[in-house]
């Protein structure tokens, strides 16, 4: 751990921090990722390294260039409004971590008043 701590400190000097630890915590929450304190340090370092690298994009002026979202720029195909899938509830429930009476179980989400 000490060695790892030293390595992280060394890399820290080179990195321009785009995201501070607090912001990393906020994004992790938005992404619904539980991150422990040990992970938080290396994640902060790595994420900033990557963002610094990504910022190379700013070297080129892209003013007025139409964005390309999809390589083939195809139109979304429409299908006929017909039922093609059958109900496979039992099959799909087989992979559920918790289920009962044909339903997926989760912790209680509605509080009693």
């Amino acid at each position: 751990m000490l060695i790892q701590g030293k390595m992280i400190a060394l890399i820290y000097c080179k990195v321009f921090f785009i995201m501070k630890v607090d912001e990393i915590k906020k994004i992790a929450f938005l992404a619904r990722l539980d991150v422990n304190d040990r992970e938080l340090l290396s994640l902060t370092n790595d994420v900033n390294n990557i963002l610094n690298f990504i910022n190379k994009m700013n070297e080129v002026d892209t003013h007025g260039i139409a964005p390309l979202a999809h390589p083939l720029e195809i139109n979304q195909r429409l299908r006929n409004d017909e039922v093609t899938e059958t109900n496979q509830r039992e099959l799909f429930l087989k992979n559920a971590p918790a289920q009962e009476a044909g339903l997926f179980l989760v912790p209680k989400v509605i509080e009693e008043v």
């Binding site: 994004i27 390294n49 190379k56 994009m57 390309l68 390589p71 099959l91 799909f92």
Partner: protein
């Protein structure tokens, strides 16, 4: 027998030199012997393989065989295979039994091929070394202290060490071509939309494309004919007829225009690899091709733009792993939020989490224009570079990887260094073009891959040029002596 290509095995089965059951047993034996060392397979489907082989032999006896009936194959563990564990090399899906079959694997099954097992990979196809697997790193058979590349590392190793005559894979930014290069195998990534993505676990949907790893371009042609084609179950599947790729393999290369991008041959490229690629280009020139220097001026921006787009799409795609309907769920969640947070926090690996974080950040309010939109504009510039180049040439030629196979653990602490392993491969995914990596030589006993890039749906030309090169060279016939 394990030296034989798919095409040769097809002939051996047809003239009864061997049965599918015998052939399948041979590969299963080799897997049991070498997999503990190489870690190429996550799941071995022995019982199924033997049953399918028996069925294949019966079909052949009844005169109902296709060219591929009875030939074994391995699938990357990213393809859903009904009733078989499909993990994507993640703790998240360690207990996931696919309830349906992907279109690609269904077509292979339909052709009568025998499934040996599911291969190792980087978790959710995120990585360039196969070190990001919940099941441990996969080893390069040319030097087991080195990585095989990724993310289709297990498939590449299975083919390179002859633990399967062919294997499927996927390529989002080089995941078939780079492992192909690092293991001395042939890795084909077709045009975006050429092969259905139905049942192929999504990483970045505008970039993902299925493909194959084989010994030869001839085998790649044979397999592509089987797995390509329109699929109503994939809304981005291309409505393009599938040509007979095998038919054009022997076309003359006379007059074929091959472009070498000057941006590919810089100081970032290992000098031995540079020399090897130039030698390979000269070989094609001897066969009648004309070499041209071309320019792809925005190539330097492809890796940053790729990682913005791929990671944004990944953060969206991986939102589905919530611990509710399938996959890993944390112990004793105290409420629904805790269930989401800990199931994802504990079930996903470090690199996957990094990528989801970046993607979530670049898509969040206030940053979208600076990152995602900017990257899409660069994507347009890169595509235009290629469109312009393909007005002058038929094929673009260059290296697949800037280095040969690197050491295990060499780049794990530096994600950016790992991303730069993809400098020659990501641009073609951004543009949606087809590409292939074929063996072109060695440096210090490690394979070097040459990358050929084609115009949209020009797989036949790519395979033709690759096949002609492989008629003149035997790099693709070399195999690591330890496994011979």
């Amino acid at each position: 027998m394990y030296h034989k290509t798919v095409s040769e095995l097809s002939k051996a089965l047809a003239n009864k030199a061997i049965s599918s059951v015998e052939l399948t047993k041979l590969y299963l034996e080799r897997i049991k012997q070498y997999n503990p060392l190489l870690n190429a397979y996550i799941t071995l489907t022995e019982e199924l393989a033997l049953a399918q082989a028996k069925q294949a032999d019966q079909a052949r006896a009844q005169g109902q065989a296709t060219l591929l009936t009875g030939v074994p194959i391995a699938h990357k563990d990213i393809f859903c295979t009904e009733g078989i564990k499909t993990s994507c090399a993640s703790k998240m899906l360690d207990n996931f039994i696919a309830p349906y079959e992907s279109t690609l694997t269904a077509k292979i099954k339909q052709a009568g091929m025998v499934l040996l097992g599911k291969t190792n990979m980087d978790e959710f196809a995120m990585g360039s070394s196969n070190e990001n697997s919940y099941y441990g790193a996969c080893k390069n058979p040319w030097d087991i202290e080195r990585v095989p590349g990724g993310s289709s590392g297990g498939s590449a190793v299975a083919v390179a060490a002859r633990l399967a005559p062919a294997a499927t894979g996927t390529d989002t930014g080089g995941s078939l071509r780079q492992p192909g290069a690092l293991t001395g195998t042939t890795g084909l990534k077709p045009t975006y939309g050429r092969i259905s993505r139905y049942g192929m676990i999504a990483f970045a949907s505008s970039l993902d494309q299925g493909g194959i790893l084989t010994y030869t371009a001839e085998d790649a042609a044979l397999l592509l004919e089987t797995i390509a084609g329109f699929d109503p179950k994939d809304s981005t599947s291309a409505v393009e007829p599938v040509p007979s790729y095998s038919k054009n393999l022997n076309d003359s290369l006379k007059g074929v225009r091959i472009g070498l991008p000057k941006e590919y041959f810089t100081s970032q490229l290992d000098t031995t690899i540079g020399t090897t690629i130039h030698t390979a280009a000269k070989e094609l020139e001897k066969l009648g091709a004309n070499l041209h220097e071309i320019s792809l001026p925005n190539m330097g921006l492809s890796v940053p733009a790729y990682y913005v787009i791929a990671l944004a799409e990944c953060s969206s795609n991986l939102a589905r792993y919530d611990g509710v309907r399938y996959g890993y769920r944390c112990q004793d969640p105290k409420d629904l939020l805790d269930l989401y947070m800990r199931s994802r926090g504990e079930g996903l690996g470090a690199e996957v989490k990094r990528r989801i974080m970046i993607g979530t950040y670049t898509l969040s309010a206030g940053y979208y224009d600076a990152y995602y939109l900017k990257a899409q504009q660069i994507r347009r510039l890169i595509q235009e570079d290629f469109i312009k180049a393909f007005k002058e040439v038929d094929i673009i030629l260059g290296p697949t990887s800037p280095t040969t196979a690197f050491k295990i653990n060499e780049k794990v602490d530096d994600p950016v260094a790992m991303y730069l392993a993809d400098i020659y491969t990501v641009a073609i995914n951004l543009a949606g073009l087809p590409g292939i990596s074929i063996p072109a030589g060695f440096s210090n006993g490690l394979p070097i891959g040459m990358q050929l890039i084609g115009n949209y749906f020009a797989e036949a030309k790519l395979l033709n040029v690759s096949h002609q090169y492989q008629q003149q060279t035997d790099w693709h016939r070399q195999m690591p002596s330890q496994f011979n």
